[in-house]
Symmetry: D2
Subunit: 369 residues, 4 copies
Amino acid sequence: MKRIGIGIVGGGYMGKAHAVAMSAVGAVFDTPLRPVLEMVAASTPESAARYRDAFGFRQGTADWRDLVAAPEVEAVVIASPQATHRPIAEAAFALGKPVFCEKPLGASLSDARAMVAAARDSGCVNMVGFNYVRTPATQFARRLIAGGEIGDLVWFRGEHTEDFYADPAAPASWRTEGEANGTMGDLAPHMINAALALAGPITSVMAQIDTVHTDRGGVAVTNDDQAQMMCRFASGASGHLFFSRVAHGRKMGYAYEITGTKGAIRFDQEDQNALWLYRAEGPEAGRGFTKILTGPAHPDYAAFCQGPGHGTGYQDQIIIEARDFLAAIASGKAIWPTFEDGLAVSEIVAAARSSHAARAWTDLRSFQE
Amino acid sequence: MKRIGIGIVGGGYMGKAHAVAMSAVGAVFDTPLRPVLEMVAASTPESAARYRDAFGFRQGTADWRDLVAAPEVEAVVIASPQATHRPIAEAAFALGKPVFCEKPLGASLSDARAMVAAARDSGCVNMVGFNYVRTPATQFARRLIAGGEIGDLVWFRGEHTEDFYADPAAPASWRTEGEANGTMGDLAPHMINAALALAGPITSVMAQIDTVHTDRGGVAVTNDDQAQMMCRFASGASGHLFFSRVAHGRKMGYAYEITGTKGAIRFDQEDQNALWLYRAEGPEAGRGFTKILTGPAHPDYAAFCQGPGHGTGYQDQIIIEARDFLAAIASGKAIWPTFEDGLAVSEIVAAARSSHAARAWTDLRSFQE
Amino acid sequence: MKRIGIGIVGGGYMGKAHAVAMSAVGAVFDTPLRPVLEMVAASTPESAARYRDAFGFRQGTADWRDLVAAPEVEAVVIASPQATHRPIAEAAFALGKPVFCEKPLGASLSDARAMVAAARDSGCVNMVGFNYVRTPATQFARRLIAGGEIGDLVWFRGEHTEDFYADPAAPASWRTEGEANGTMGDLAPHMINAALALAGPITSVMAQIDTVHTDRGGVAVTNDDQAQMMCRFASGASGHLFFSRVAHGRKMGYAYEITGTKGAIRFDQEDQNALWLYRAEGPEAGRGFTKILTGPAHPDYAAFCQGPGHGTGYQDQIIIEARDFLAAIASGKAIWPTFEDGLAVSEIVAAARSSHAARAWTDLRSFQE
Amino acid sequence: MKRIGIGIVGGGYMGKAHAVAMSAVGAVFDTPLRPVLEMVAASTPESAARYRDAFGFRQGTADWRDLVAAPEVEAVVIASPQATHRPIAEAAFALGKPVFCEKPLGASLSDARAMVAAARDSGCVNMVGFNYVRTPATQFARRLIAGGEIGDLVWFRGEHTEDFYADPAAPASWRTEGEANGTMGDLAPHMINAALALAGPITSVMAQIDTVHTDRGGVAVTNDDQAQMMCRFASGASGHLFFSRVAHGRKMGYAYEITGTKGAIRFDQEDQNALWLYRAEGPEAGRGFTKILTGPAHPDYAAFCQGPGHGTGYQDQIIIEARDFLAAIASGKAIWPTFEDGLAVSEIVAAARSSHAARAWTDLRSFQE
């Protein structure tokens, strides 16, 4: 089987996840290419060497430019801080290399736009790491909606809530500094992408963005703790999105409730192997939400286990991403979500910030080129 | 024991509930007064006679004025259409009779204001029928919050969602006509009252109100199917409220999620005997939402059953209301929620309608006299 | 409407529940008779007077014989300790009065047999207080099974678990003395009755009965804390029943799981307004347990509330019993569950005790006359 | 890092799972050895070649003897039918190679005994594939119990229920033939192992084993569809185990409920990222089962994800097994569960079969050498 050299920029949380995924994907799926962990880039030679050994890369480097330039690196995975996404992607595209970029696409709307342009100009395969839409349950939800199973949508409620900064006594850190690391910058993109994937384009938003704890241990907090927005979809449906890093009790509150004219869907990532489906069919006495456990009958599940209800987890989503990235490279055809999809998310983030500042409904068209 | 003659205006859904409650309350609770079902008023002599016999009243009348005027009717329960609330209450107060009025207080903000004024001028006991805040679980939630158990509130999400009009093919009816019968008029008051009871005063709102199905069987729908509002509480917390009669799968979706700096609370009326409490205490490994089943340790439960987890239901909430109404009459002191509390809800409904029309954040002060 | 004088023996937990039920039932349901609370019997004149005033009886007595004999008492509800069930019932039947008896039918199998004989000889209406099978959810489950919705049964698992004696430091009391007050005597009858009602006759049992805490504060415990039995149904299905008063965390763990050849049903009284139904129908990808919230489409719900999902509670089950008892009296025809049904439960309790002693499978026929 | 050549016998369901696990484990965990997929053995040269290519092995063979004998295969994973477990393990041990064997240890009690003897004689590292006890939740449950958090155990209820043969019309197959492939042979070992791991040794059992559908499409079914057993633990606790392949609606019903004198634990593999813990502590009003979502604070979770609630899945359990097997090999010290633990399970299976045949309580000592 044809091999492909993979370079991963970043060896932290997401860098490791991608290294594991690239190690496992060939055995899990019938991939057209077999990935080889060629090089990892990190911030120091020491960390690069550590990641290389820990994850099984052939080489490590403290300079991502080396990684991008290395001929044996044939595809680049960007799992480094947001501000670095754009230059790395641009450099890779300039060399004709496919790029997988962690969400959000860039640290700003202008970065995202530039990255889409660079991708388009290069003709290279590109993809954004919105892993949560890859669970069998959410893929299945997407199919159900696309197939009209719950009719025309009338309402979408989504949230991405966690509690890692819920303790008011938690000290300031890099996470409490800079727009990109706040709730809108860091958590919102996942659920905005889900909203777009499940309910279609958003045409206007009305947002409220809050810093709940403005001071942490004497250090000023310069980004947001929680944010909400009402929105209108192109379909006419209305919706609400909520994001929080101070939501006590929520560990991975990536959840949505979608209502259509024929039924409804509910999902919560904290129980990611179940999808709740209501169909307005049959006798009233028998109606209710059905808790569907994912299994081989649902997208991408069977590769992980032949038995239903046995469950997939976080890491498996990244493996599915890796499968898609390799397939896109092999075919030369982009696979959703591409950089354009990432840009659509960035536009909404920008529109929400603008809406909050203006305290007014904001039309997305002002943020689309 | 001293007896008190009760007159109930209306014999439908809520009229029956109050008739049952007044029949049972004396045996359930140790009440200072024993209610006697004196008279029921309905729209025709036939229905009045039917309700009289079915529920065990001594008399029936087709004119609520007779009921209010009858000397043997010593307290009046209003369970008739919204537009009738004001004249009935005013007539009763004029005769010095205590009034229990179903929610919402009146059909409009001006009605609500007039009713508060009439109550105040008369010095009579008055109360509004926000029954859902009477469940042992929600009463307990209120105590937990008031006692600081989850710290300072940072977020409140509430909804009241049902699906009785979710079918697009359902024909028009009185429910699809007139502001008072729409979602904002009919469903919103319950959850707005809960928000105020649990999280304190709201200072501004930003609302979006939708008629999803504008035509039903060739008849124009003149009120709203779903509505949402973002809000700011006086405490600084932010929040979101959602109301819908087209929410497929939701039968009694009176639900809230409240986050504080020390914990969180979740509740859903569809499982009204459980309250979910998260406390940010103890080792991380042991934290999670605790599903607390209501029992004798919680407010008003023990009167219904000595065993925990045995459960109270819808009708029991009305019995608790009856107990409070009788206690208020006996003591001459108002018991929450009074007409003033009902007015606070009406102010928010009015502010939300105004916000929707203006597409702007709206300050509650403009709606408070 | 014709009135009927009710006498209730016992004013504690269940006596109160029946007093409330008799007060409310006429307003809740369209009953053929309107009950009047004539007399309550208690153990002392003081408690009798207290119950009389608290629950609204016309008279109180410290001797149940007075109650049974009083001409104005036209029907008798027995809610006193198990050992008193038989003499009270026999006395009432001797006077031709209908009897409602709290579960279990008698304190022993011979008591139960004598009570059935007395009922039969008198020709009087008789009924046993297995209230939990009266919830809309469990009535609906019974209909589903009878209607073949889940096919032929293959497995029944039931439990009745509570934790009121789970604390090893809890002191001894009347509850820890005597067979009748142990888990097999006190808790088991409810779920055994449910098993029979839902899955049909049991033909053999194999039981294990345990006293977990043999000493409480220096006092010997003379009855059982937990018990289990495997069983075989006449249908060929097998099953398991478990009972416990030491099951930490279980407050009202009356729960069952029933599997058939076409589907399955699950229920837990701690969430009594939901029934979970699995149907092996339609595409695999859409299958799962459907959480059906009870509503007007289910048995006896609509009388309590016109809206689905609003919920009934413990007290409402007793009201449903009262409705059935009154209907049986009016028609002169027994309504399930009769004393014969109560006897069937007593036979299983006796067989289980025998099986435990013999450490052997025990045939029910040995316990049936 | 030192490499170790892995040979896997079997390329089906479990063979693939182990191939994926060995591919990923080095990146997920800090392992002392880095596994290399040397050889896969299958039933034909074609399937061996297919597995080799699909999973990334260097070689494939149709004869497991070649695999065991190959010097580059330094450790053997047995994922082939039960009847082959013993000869493969014996051959590997004879060559001094560590063996990981899928559950159950052998196809019979005598096989299991022989395998334990062979392991002991060889001094080689050995381990059994009871993967479900490896979830972070169940590992945590084990720690909680061992740490006395729920006190002395009084009750253990476990089940392993699935519905892959629930349809009476499903045709016969190899699964409906032979003791080893029935419910007791195939499903029971997992939950028996969990019972032992969580609640300690079992001293006696009383079993009932059923073939529900004795004929499938005209072919006689020669093994069991469902089975139950009551049991007594050495601790004095009693318990119940249930196994079924005809449990409609259950997809992966590996579930347990454990009650102690100070609390209780509940778990269901269908929601494997949650453990429910009840502690009899603090005010009654605040007690309930806490739904703990697994996270980095729980065993082995952090290697998969730094965020709590993000979830692990089926495949991750196998990766944890691989980590333990490699650690055992590196240290030369057995890691639980060893072949001796597998034998303990086989003894209980044998005792249960004997109990069923004798319709009597059966002492485990008769099955222990």
